[in-house]
Symmetry: C2
Subunit: 300 residues, 2 copies
């Protein structure tokens, strides 16, 4: 399973980066191949200063070895060996009318001393962070998520949509990071779902990513915008930074388990502002966004 | 003691904000008085878009009531009442040649059910974060710190200078946030130091703040700089954000104990950049700074 899934994310990285370059029309991804001293490594692909994408990364990694101390206590296990691989992507468009998108699909194995798999699971999801709210974008994104889910289980979409709203929540701001999508974790063998079934589900979601995001970026990438709208985007990007550095378990684990810092922090937006006690004007488009983030919306 | 120290920080806030406005020559501090629903409140003063200071805050607060859950486990105590007050300041100059400065002086009391003080301590410090290294600035800042310390105990400066280097450390980047200063905490009654002695020490340090910083900002505020130097400042400000959101206990506690978010996050710089895998050019002024941050320097 681990080899099959790693091969899958390698191919998916190629598919996604090719399409993103095509949309951008100017910038190309730079690739960094890196090795983890304790075992494994990854292939980081970063795009910067494009026509459409101001900054973004589509990264894969496959790491293995002794489970780091911080993760032992998190998973409540002793000294075990592990394997983890996944694809992580974040795309920050230049145009404030176009939303940032994030996705991650991953697979994890833990072993006993004999090297047998004692536990394994899939996790992942994808979510959208607009700076201006176009309801049709949120609806489209969720629609694609739902179609992928429904092929496997009609209960997945509502359950994983809710988990996404709960996870990508800036508690200290009392608002969501964005308009959500899917979030699932610890997808393990059950009576209904074998690991192969989970593989089929996760790859279905991964395969639908471009269908979920491309129509949105195509619609928004060339819309006109003002300096004030750009400032608003940079201020909202501050909330993105706050979520990733204060709340996101993936980022914090990476930082605390000697992960590859630059691959982890490539998720941070290129230009960001913090103003003191900034509030959008009443009845403005900016306020409309903030109101929607206060309470999860059923987009479908 | 709590009334005396609160009165002291009120006056110190006035003294510092007056002087900062005088140096800036354009912007004035805006004041927000706020109340904490559970008890107490504060006086936040923020300056933005000045001639010299792009963003800064000089805030005081005095809060009391039941110790929040997160702090109970941190201090390893049960349900007790507390009082805490302090002055916190961060100043982000516009000119990349001028360093950011941070300072904080605070006092804490814990009570038993009868309302008697069962524990109390002072804490605080001040530290300097340059974007370009002027050694004479670091030396001057540390000199003023040392003079304040030496009046009370010759062991204070080396001990608190070291604590500062240890605390303001971006572990995930393996570099210091800046060139340090002083950091002390849990300053409690000992055979040598009464609480009155600690009060005298902490106020001595607080009173020396302007002497430590003003000559530096005066020397650097009007130096010429290029677009590239400004970019470097904004990239380095990213490290400031990373420290405050990932490592700083004060910020994280504030965010997790329902503190006043805007007063806590006023410490974040106004304009910030993150670039992928950015490294200064060999032998450049930028590289000189980063090298100095890799290992604490004995400035005196």
């Amino acid at each position: 399973m681990k080899d099959k899934f790693y091969k899958y994310i390698q191919e998916l990285q190629d598919t996604i980066t090719l399409k993103i370059e095509e949309i951008d029309g100017k910038a190309k991804f730079d690739e960094d191949q890196w090795k983890r001293p304790e075992g494994g490594g990854g292939r980081t692909r970063v795009i910067e200063n494009g026509n459409v994408f101001e900054k973004g990364g589509v990264n894969i990694s496959g790491v293995h070895g002794a489970l780091p101390k911080a993760m032992q206590s998190y998973f409540n296990v002793g000294e075990v060996n592990f394997f983890a691989c996944g694809l992580s992507l974040v795309l920050h468009p230049k145009n404030p009318m176009a939303p940032t998108v994030h996705a991650n699909w991953r697979y994890f194995e833990m072993y006993n001393k004999e090297g047998d798999i004692v536990d394994s699971w899939f996790g992942g999801g994808q979510d959208l962070t607009p700076y201006y709210l176009f309801e049709e974008d949120a609806v489209h994104f969720h629609q694609v998520c739902k179609i992928s889910c429904d092929k496997h289980n009609p209960e997945f979409y509502p359950a994983y949509k809710q988990k996404c709203d709960e996870y990508f929540y800036n508690a200290h701001r009392e608002e969501g990071r964005g308009v959500g999508g899917l979030f699932f974790d610890y997808c393990k063998t059950t009576e209904e779902m074998s690991m192969q079934n989970w593989y089929d589900f996760v790859t279905e979601v991964g395969n639908s990513f471009l269908e979920a995001y491309v129509p949105i970026i195509e619609r928004r990438k060339d819309l006109p915008f003002t300096k004030n709208q750009r400032d608003w985007q940079e201020i909202r990007r501050g909330r993105y930074v706050e979520f990733n550095l204060v709340h996101d378990k993936g980022t914090l684990f990476g930082l605390k388990t000697n992960g590859r810092i630059e691959s982890i922090l490539m998720s941070l937006p290129p230009q960001v502002q913090w103003r003191y006690d900034h509030h959008p004007k009443p009845e403005s488009e900016e306020e409309k966004l903030v109101k929607v983030l206060k309470k999860p919306v059923e987009w479908l």
